[in-house]
């Protein structure tokens, strides 16, 4: 498949990425500024998220309402989010409205007003979101797992901790924005029916004179304990297991994610077959891959009635242990087919492609063409996956349970 990819770098360190998808009516843009939650600082968990929220409450000549009105009148389906590493602002729209959206996003990241009279409402909004999270048992289980498995501060919840958010002030947010909302390391990705030279010219005008030095990098801190029980009063118990994986930029990540897919990706995977189809132990069971730039994890998750939670954990652990040395060619072929199909179908969504370009650049420092990605899957062999598993079998598992009672984690599983 022919693909037209573009990249350019502005003097201030901003990377522009683009993909022309001329058959689409839409265009999507995503701006990633390296002002993520790892920069929150001790005792200020949630600062980056609160800063992202306050940035939307007035920027440049627009007040809070005007930002939303102007975006929505241009038909921009907009979103913002704060991850461990980035504050991201994005929008998908009918392609001809892209020039209307760009100046609004430029104001949000470059000229946020950070109005003191909006601060309490912004903080309350973040706290409401955190209270809602308390009622989502699966989400809480995953937060607890990341917290014990990743080194601080990568394991801290980007959305914040209520007790720490309550103590934040508008001055904290203003300080954070002045030291972290900066061009160096920022990525602006666009995909869809685009005019690349015009996009570069507009971005140069809107972002080219943005200046500032990047903050010092954050060093990984200590890890938490390796298993944890979270008491929770409900019918179901939730179980999540993690172990370390090579990050996406590591060449071995393809072997690692293929092995994980065989374990728990898709309805013919081993976990789905053994836990749900054979035993009817739960409705949801899966294994997935979550990556930062320097470290990644495999994550297994299941939710089930308290009385059957121990059996569910035992079956999952047995399947993890059984994985090395047992992979079949048919299983690997199915993983390849699913991955390739998903890659090709991304071409139908400008938002999916813009997201993918930004992720690739952050993790790899390059954009891979679809053909290159497909070729990487084609090259995967059972022997390569098995060799990798033999060298790196799942070990030092972190285990979290959330429910009435703690589960028994066999000795030797958890480090």
């Amino acid at each position: 498949m022919k693909q037209t990819l573009f990249s350019a770098t502005l003097d201030n360190g901003i990377t522009l990425l683009g993909e022309d998808l001329p058959d689409l009516e839409s265009a999507a843009v995503a701006i990633h500024v390296p002002a993520g939650a790892v920069h929150d600082g001790p005792g200020r968990c949630g600062l980056a998220t609160l800063a992202g929220e306050l940035c939307l409450r007035g920027a440049g000549q627009r007040d809070s309402r005007r930002i939303v009105e102007d975006l929505e009148n241009a038909g921009v389906q907009w979103a913002h989010s704060v991850s461990a590493t980035h504050a991201s602002f994005s929008g998908a729209m009918v392609a001809r409205r892209l020039p209307d959206a760009l100046p609004i996003f430029a104001d949000i990241v470059r000229r946020p007003r950070l109005p003191p009279d909006e601060f309490d409402a912004a903080r309350d909004m973040v706290l409401q979101g955190l209270a809602g999270t308390e009622d989502d048992p699966a989400h809480r289980t995953m937060l607890a797992l990341r917290q014990i498995h990743f080194p601080a501060p990568w394991g801290m919840p980007a959305e914040g901790l209520a007790a720490e958010v309550e103590r934040l002030s508008c001055a904290d947010v203003r300080r954070f924005c002045s030291t972290h909302l900066l061009p160096a390391g920022s990525i602006i990705a666009v995909a869809g029916r685009i005019d690349w030279p015009d996009f570069v010219a507009r971005c140069t005008r809107l972002f080219g004179d943005w200046r500032g030095d990047p903050p010092p990098p954050i060093a990984p801190g200590p890890r938490g304990p390796h298993s944890r029980h979270v008491p929770h009063d409900a019918q179901q118990t939730h179980v999540a297991i993690a172990w370390s994986q090579p990050p996406y930029r590591d060449d071995a990540s393809h072997e690692a994610t293929a092995a994980l897919g065989i374990l728990g990706g898709g309805s013919s995977s081993r976990l789905f077959t053994e836990v749900r189809e054979r035993r009817g132990l739960c409705y949801t069971v899966s294994a997935g891959y979550q990556t930062h730039r320097d470290f990644a994890i495999a994550v297994c998750y299941a939710g089930t009635t308290a009385a059957r939670a121990q059996e569910t954990l035992d079956v999952i652990l047995a399947e993890i242990e059984r994985l090395p040395g047992t992979i079949s060619a048919e299983e690997l072929d199915r993983i390849k087919a699913r991955a390739k199909s998903a890659l090709v179908m991304q071409q139908e969504s400008s938002a999916a492609r813009a997201g993918s370009l930004g992720r690739q650049w952050y993790h790899l420092g390059e954009m891979r063409t679809l053909a290159e990605e497909l070729a990487r899957y084609d090259r995967l062999t059972v022997a390569a996956v098995e060799d990798w598993l033999a060298a790196q079998p799942p070990k030092d598992l972190s285990v979290v349970s959330l429910g009435h009672e703690a589960l028994e984690v066999p000795r030797g599983v958890s480090a």
Binding site: E25, M93, Q128, E134, D135, G280, L281
Partner: protein
């Protein structure tokens, strides 16, 4: 874009919207059956049957179905609602025949007793999972209160009791009656080879027997809440209080349906709406939204609110004040324009993806035998006027006759 249609001798409709630029093909069976077609004894059968369809036919095992979908790189799934059960797969175009072959065979399942017993455990887990999650059953209970004795009152999942008591024979009989060619549509969107689709449909589905009587239960739906007022579900461990409010709205056959969606966007979209600015932006509520939900012969305006337990009554009162203000003073030009632009953009962007179009095209055909291009839907949205929205406000008073269910720690 082209729309193509064929009707097999046994009544099965085969339709496709083909798109020259698509890189994927979506196919799906739209079955006109859901929880409204059940009796109390069959409560939850439509959804349970949807799971059982994946457990295999006489000649294809459940494991093989899962393996074949994954081997063709399909994104395949199913869902059950009050009036529909839908099975779908999205594949690369060269896998169209594989996807159609598998999904069509699945429509004639073995319904083995052993699979039935195992899958029953999964369904019970699914019921408990949703019961542990916000809004803690408030949505199902609210629909039950609104519809009273009407079949639309029934929840899709059923209850622990109804599922536990269900015998496999009842499901086999239900399948025989409801999965008849006359109640099903085979739809495809994207890069579709239509002649091949029709030939495959003839070969795989042409022998399905028609049923003499496939009409569904159609008692008159209530045009106001059957049990108005507020009910409370106590969940001591919940952090927030969750509220669901339902009041009457236009059905999917009513001329007001598009204007109703525009009104819901003005008043209660998840961003930039009156509820958003008053309750969410201020940090007073985690969520405050209004949307319009339509059935064949009934419609609802659904308000969803989550906030601190001790503030729920106050916040609902503020929402009602917003509804009263809109009913008496109408809506302003700029907020109307903003909502219309937003809906128009959604129509265009959703129209780019064959998978999204499948639900639109297949669903409309299964219910009403109508087809609209993306451009035609866009035309409808763009031609809406403030007067249309004003009529909806007058016909379907948002501040009157509603059922409300609250779930959370307060317990009143």
């Amino acid at each position: 874009m082209a729309f193509l249609r064929e009707r097999l001798d046994n009544g099965l409709e085969v339709i496709a919207e083909t798109s020259a630029h698509a890189v994927s093909t979506s196919v799906g069976f739209f079955v006109n059956t859901g929880s409204r077609d059940e009796s109390d004894l069959l409560w939850g059968t439509s959804h349970f049957l949807e799971h059982m369809i994946f457990k295999g036919t006489e000649s294809v095992s459940g494991d093989e179905i899962n393996r074949r979908f994954d081997a063709m790189g399909a994104s395949a799934n199913a869902y059950t609602a009050e009036e529909d059960t839908v099975y779908y797969a999205t594949v690369l175009p060269d896998r169209q025949a594989d996807a159609v072959d598998l999904i069509a065979r699945m429509m004639r399942p073995a319904l083995r007793e052993e699979d039935f017993s195992t899958e029953k455990l999964v369904i019970l887990e699914e019921i408990r999972m949703y019961d542990d999650q916000p809004p803690f059953g408030a949505d199902d209970q609210c629909r039950a209160a609104f519809f009273g004795d009407h079949p639309l009152a029934r929840s899709v999942l059923g209850t622990v009791e109804s599922i536990t008591a269900l015998p496999v024979e009842a499901m086999r009989d239900y399948h025989h009656r409801r999965y008849a060619p006359g109640t099903m549509v085979l739809a495809a969107t994207g890069a579709v080879d239509f002649p091949a689709l029709v030939a495959d449909a003839r070969r795989l589905c042409g022998g399905w027997e028609s049923q003499p009587d496939t009409t569904r239960l159609r008692p008159d739906a209530p045009d106001r809440a059957a049990r108005p007022g507020t009910t409370r579900i106590v969940r001591p461990s919940a952090t927030l209080e969750y509220g669901v409010r339902m009041s009457p709205g236009p059905s999917e056959r009513h001329a007001d349906r598009f204007a109703a969606k525009l009104l819901a966007a003005v008043l209660g979209d998840s961003s930039g709406s009156r509820l958003y600015w008053a309750l969410v932006d201020s940090g007073d509520a985690e969520q405050a939204t209004l949307h319009h939900h339509e059935f064949l012969d009934a419609g609802l305006f659904v308000t969803q609110l989550s906030c601190d337990a001790d503030a729920i009554d106050t916040q609902f009162e503020r929402i009602l004040e917003i509804y009263r203000d809109a009913a008496t003073r109408g809506i302003a030009g700029p907020e109307f324009d903003q909502a219309r632009n937003k809906l128009a953009s959604r129509v265009v962007l959703a129209g780019e993806r064959p998978r999204r179009r499948l639900f639109e095209v297949g669903g409309e055909w299964a219910h009403a035998r109508t087809y609209r291009t993306v451009a035609e839907t866009l035309g409808i949205v763009e031609s809406l006027t403030r007067n249309d929205v004003q009529q909806v406000l007058e016909r379907w008073r948002l501040d009157e006759s509603a059922s409300i269910v609250l779930a959370g720690p307060s317990g009143g």
